[in-house]
């Protein structure tokens, strides 16, 4: 439905002058803002409005380790660091907000429906773990019989798969809500309908021109997803992006039947079953492709025939935040000291890192290159 929402000075901030302004109110921006606010900074979180293209509302909610890092071993280590920190982060979120984000590190599967898929999966894991400098972690191929003991609902077409005990999932929508709930409690100012048009360097920091007025801060963090592409050059940074469309199907609530998330099928703590995950190039989330949804549904059914008569309640299309090589970017500006950029596809998996590792670095004014140096955009 085409409906324009006029810009409004909605949540009128008490001030327009902050220690740090974070641009982007999705999981990435909210996690960094969380870490900054927890550390005592005066933070503003700028966001677009209700109909923003928002990956945080369209994601699959996995906290996922297996298969991350082929082509950049440091990414595997960075992912495991977040996966390890997640339980503590989830507890902190509950502590501040009273909301349970349902983090579970149950171990997760990737299931294969043919010998060819098994072979491809095994090759991928092998190449991943043979990379020089990769951190050693447990991710292995499993025979069907072994999988069946852990996932009794699998269908006869499942011939094998891979399993990693570090994998898990959360309720990512509740996480987004919890971060925003907590930010309000921690004194951060969330400013929706503040789409940033321009950023200027000013004495002692930055001035951000938005549709709802100017916001000033000593530091600025760009966490605006694919929009970082246009924002980063305003502060002497770059963020080469290659957005990707993905479709997800969700069912009605069911009694628990699936103890471990599968990379394409998972049951939420609420009981609904999410089914993914397609990839197409493109930045518009408009329109669901029924053919793609049909392929997803068909594969999910072959994995779990028990879902046959379960009702689909919604399908949706989201846009993944993807850098050109698929790995995260964390960078700081040389020409505009105090300006940072953060882009990544895995805003759920890496949320713990963003709140607990990246935010303290930003609070100190500089990224720790020993930890995140590999993720500079200079690699492009």
């Amino acid at each position: 439905m085409a409906m324009t929402i006029q810009q409004r000075d909605y949540a009128t901030p008490q001030r327009r002058d902050y220690d740090t302004v974070v641009v982007g109110g999705g999981l990435l921006g909210a996690s960094i803002a969380w870490g900054l606010a927890r550390g005592g900074e005066r933070v503003a979180l700028l966001d677009e409005g209700d109909t923003a293209i928002r990956a945080s509302r369209a994601n699959f909610a996995l906290v996922w380790v297996q298969s991350k890092g082929l082509g950049m071993p440091e990414y595997a280590g960075w992912t495991i660091r977040s996966s390890d920190a997640w339980a503590g982060f989830a507890a902190e979120v509950t502590d501040v907000t009273g909301l349970d984000v349902a983090f579970e590190r149950t171990g997760g599967f990737s299931l294969c429906l043919s010998e060819r898929e098994v072979e491809h999966r095994a090759q991928t894991l092998k190449r991943l773990h043979n990379q020089p400098g990769i951190v050693d972690y447990d991710a292995k191929m499993m025979e069907r019989s072994e999988i069946e003991r852990m996932l009794p609902a699998i269908g006869p077409e499942v011939v094998g798969g891979s399993f990693c005990p570090l994998d898990g999932h959360v309720n990512s929508l509740r996480l987004l809500r919890a971060l925003h709930t907590g930010l309000a409690k921690l004194g951060a100012h969330y400013l929706p309908d503040h789409r940033v048009d321009a950023i200027a360097q000013r004495a002692g920091g930055f001035a951000l021109m938005t549709g709802a007025g100017e916001v000033r801060a000593a530091k600025v963090v760009l966490a605006a997803g694919n929009a970082n592409m246009t924002l980063a050059p305003m502060v002497g940074l770059k963020a080469p992006m290659r957005p990707e469309r993905g479709q997800i199907i969700v069912t009605e609530r069911l009694q628990p039947f699936l103890k471990h998330p599968v990379v394409t099928v998972r049951q939420t703590d609420e009981g609904t079953v999410m089914i993914g995950d397609s990839k197409e190039e493109g930045i518009t989330p408009e329109g669901t492709n029924m053919g793609i949804a049909a392929v997803e549904a068909d594969r999910a059914l072959r994995m779990f025939p028990v879902l046959k008569t379960v009702n689909v309640v919604r399908t949706w299309t989201g846009v993944r935040v993807m850098t050109q090589d698929g790995f995260p970017i964390y960078d700081q500006s040389e020409t505009h000291p105090g300006a940072f950029v953060a882009c990544c596809h895995s805003g759920v998996t890496l949320a713990a890192n963003h709140a607990l590792t990246i935010a303290p670095m930003i609070a100190k004014g500089a990224l720790d290159l020993d930890i995140v140096g590999a993720f500079s955009a200079k690699r492009f």
Partner: protein, 97 residues
């Protein structure tokens, strides 16, 4: 809490939670359950509170029941048929049923 009026149609026998219930041909499942005196036809998947058909036109999904072993079907849209097995639901539906 409902009384029948009008001319009597052919009757249809269904089972509701294992009990034999006589419905009128032309009844939807939801109508048959209300006519049979059921106050509530399911409990919710969230708080477990009882619910009953509300809109009778396919909009509100309050009348969800298990029909012939398929869960979460809209009772207000499905006509009764001879021998149909209707089960009321408690909370979330089971996968595979």
């Amino acid at each position: 809490m409902f009384q029948r009026v009008g001319k009597s149609e052919a009757s249809v026998i269904i089972s509701v939670d294992g009990t034999r219930v006589t419905a009128r041909a032309g009844d939807t499942v939801a109508a048959a359950l209300l006519a049979a005196g059921l106050t509530s036809t399911r409990t919710t998947p969230i708080s477990g509170t009882p619910r009953a058909p509300y809109c009778m036109m396919g909009v509100c999904f309050e009348c969800l029941v298990t029909i012939d072993d398929v869960g979460n079907r809209q009772g207000c849209l499905i006509p009764v048929s001879e021998g149909m097995r209707v089960d009321t639901q408690k909370g979330k539906r089971e996968a595979g049923r």
